[in-house]
């Protein structure tokens, strides 16, 4: 039992090391990707100006803190597995992974974690820039908020990964499965709190949004990092339920898809 766990941990560690080395080779690309995800800084500027009248009880300082946290959360939970998987299916690279005695999924997981470790310093620098622009809003989360916040961020990353991986199973049937993600991304942007805090939503829209996993992807961890009250239990419950639904779909899609896989180009 312990030997099996040791070997599994070794496989993950070695894959992670290779992925970090690979991402580090293209560190400039990581910086550009991080910079391209600075929409929260733009939203911060817009809403801080609009928040001078404290709409929905949110002050300008809270707005800056919220969008600084959103910046961190979005950068740390970005998932791209569907595009990578689509390329691997279309070009036949998946074949190599399928013939190894280790699930190909770990390759993609290692890639996501490795990239995140290289990206983190860039993101922290961007947050530093936010607080340089709005020094009165600068804050350091408490240790408990930081630990809980990062636990939620890890869970969000896992849930989003599973959801996108389930969509990626369509790659076995169509060449442009990544277009499905565009639809999901629209819902994510609108309902997650990435454009505006949930307090700004009409009550009915907010009630609907809270049934979906999206508010817990951004709004929940951002509120935790800010040290504000947040629906932690509700968030974990809803994300777990949605995650299990998509995990089931992914497993069905994987089994059926492999029977359909033609190993093109390989």
């Amino acid at each position: 039992m312990f030997e099996a766990i040791r070997l599994w941990a070794l496989k993950i560690r070695v894959q992670l090391a290779a992925q970090i080395a690979l991402v580090a080779t293209y560190r400039a690309e990581v910086v550009l990707w991080a910079l391209s995800g600075t929409l929260p800084i733009i939203m911060m500027g817009l809403w801080t100006k609009a928040a001078t009248d404290a709409p929905a009880g949110i002050t300008p300082v809270q707005m800056v803190r919220y969008f600084a946290a959103v910046l961190l959360v979005r950068q740390m939970t970005f998932v791209w597995v569907i595009w990578e998987f689509e390329q691997d299916v279309m070009q036949g690279h998946l074949s190599h992974f399928l013939l190894r005695p280790f699930s190909p999924i770990w390759h993609y997981i290692a890639g996501h974690i490795g990239e995140r470790l290289v990206r983190l310093p860039v993101v922290l620098a961007l947050i530093g820039l936010c607080f340089a622009l709005y020094p009165s809003a600068a804050f350091v989360p408490s240790l408990s908020d930081l630990l809980l916040g990062f636990a939620v961020i890890a869970f969000v990353l896992l849930t989003r990964f599973v959801m996108q991986l389930a969509s990626a199973m369509m790659c076995f049937y169509t060449d442009r499965a990544s277009n499905i993600e565009t639809l999901q991304f629209t819902a994510y942007m609108f309902l997650s709190g990435a454009i505006a805090p949930l307090e700004m939503f009409p009550p009915q829209v907010r009630a609907f949004a809270e049934l979906t996993p999206y508010p817990y992807f951004v709004y929940l961890p951002a509120r935790i990092l800010m040290g504000e009250p947040a629906p932690v239990a509700q968030g974990f419950t809803v994300m777990t339920l949605w995650g299990l639904v998509f995990l089931g779909l992914q497993q069905i899609g994987w089994r059926r898809g492999l029977r359909h896989y033609s190993s093109y180009g390989a």
Binding site: A21, G92, S95, P101, R259, Y261, S262, S263
Partner: protein
């Protein structure tokens, strides 16, 4: 080691006629056609043998390899590879096989091969010291010991292919599926990979299934060939036997000591060329010894050679036609490619 019984694979693809009207129809009503890539294949390959899969492009060789290795599921029929159903892809099965596809890489392009080899060693649960020993042994055999710490993208095509082979064999598989392993390589690299595969086969008793469009790969490595044509197996046997059956004649070239007529020469075989003293005859293989004796006795040639048609030409015609029975038409070989037998 590998047993296939009535193995078939059919692919279903959407088809569309050209033109705007056909495109609009295609949006609402798709027509599909079924392409039978492999048809009722049955064969058995014993442990430790090296077999060559031959066939023109689209003959079904690669599809067959993918079914044998478990990448794709057969539409019908059964296959057992090393005692396993390949498509179940059990871990014990995957540890015993490898698939190498020429010009398709599993090693990470931007990293040195050693990084990818470390991943492979971990994935196949090879102890670090043992992995190091195997890497040293295989890299020595392949002649890439000095290349493993350079990013893959900086290596030549031949060096990359050797590193790919190293990665594919690190877990010491018993069954090797090699699809065009020497594709695009220069002569030296091809020879190097051939001798490596021979050595690997001899050292570990591995079973090797190989497809290649280079006949030199097949002649150097394979005693047995399986010839596929349009999805069907049309021949399963020794390479020499198929060449003999496909080329029932030999070319006999000589110079006459004194001029003679074509009518006289026709008594010895079909006259392919006759100019002054130079003669080229096509003689049935079964009558070669007898005919040569008569030529020496009656024509006193000054210089005589017997030539076999180049194997590439023979197989080329065979694979185009899919006929294994004697083709009938003698092949006109290019002189510089002949293997001449001096007498």
């Amino acid at each position: 080691m590998i047993v296939a019984q009535d193995l078939s694979k059919t692919f279903r693809t959407a088809s569309r006629k050209p033109g705007a009207a056909a495109f609009l129809r295609y949006l609402f009503h798709r027509e599909y056609k079924e392409i039978q890539a492999v048809k009722n294949l049955s064969f058995s390959i014993p442990k430790g043998s090296i077999c060559g899969f031959l066939g023109a492009n689209g003959a079904g060789k690669t599809t067959t390899l993918k079914m044998l290795s478990g990448l794709i599921q057969p539409s019908s029929g059964t296959v057992r590879t090393g005692g396993f159903d390949p498509f179940e892809r059990r871990k014990d099965f995957l540890r015993r096989i490898t698939l190498v596809i020429g010009q398709k890489q599993q090693l990470i392009w931007d990293l040195p091969a050693l990084d990818s080899l470390r991943v492979n060693a971990a994935v196949y649960e090879i102890d670090a010291a043992e992995a190091q020993r195997r890497i040293a042994e295989l890299s020595e055999l392949l002649g890439v010991s000095q290349k493993l710490d350079q990013p893959m993208r900086k290596l030549s095509l031949g060096e990359r292919m050797k590193c790919e082979l190293l990665a594919a064999l690190l877990h010491r598989p018993e069954i090797l599926f090699l699809d065009e392993p020497t594709l695009g390589l220069d002569i030296n690299a091809q020879q190097s990979i051939r001798s490596f595969l021979r050595e690997y086969n001899a050292r570990y008793g591995a079973t090797i299934l190989l497809t290649s469009h280079y006949m030199a790969d097949i002649t150097a490595l394979c005693e047995r060939v399986l010839v596929m044509h349009e999805g069907s197996l049309v021949y399963d046997g020794s390479l020499q036997a198929i060449v003999d059956r496909a080329t029932p004649v030999r070319e006999v070239e000589f110079e006459l000591s004194q001029p003679t007529t074509t009518d006289v020469l026709q008594r010895f075989g079909e006259v392919a060329e006759h100019s002054e003293l130079k003669v080229r005859l096509l003689v049935p293989r079964s009558e070669l010894t007898h005919t040569l004796a008569h030529i020496f006795e009656q024509l006193q040639p000054t210089d005589l050679s017997v030539k076999e048609p180049p194997i590439e030409a023979v197989m080329g015609q065979l694979l185009r036609d899919g006929k294994v029975e004697p083709i009938g038409t003698p092949i006109q070989p290019a002189a510089d490619k002949h293997e001449a037998v001096r007498v």
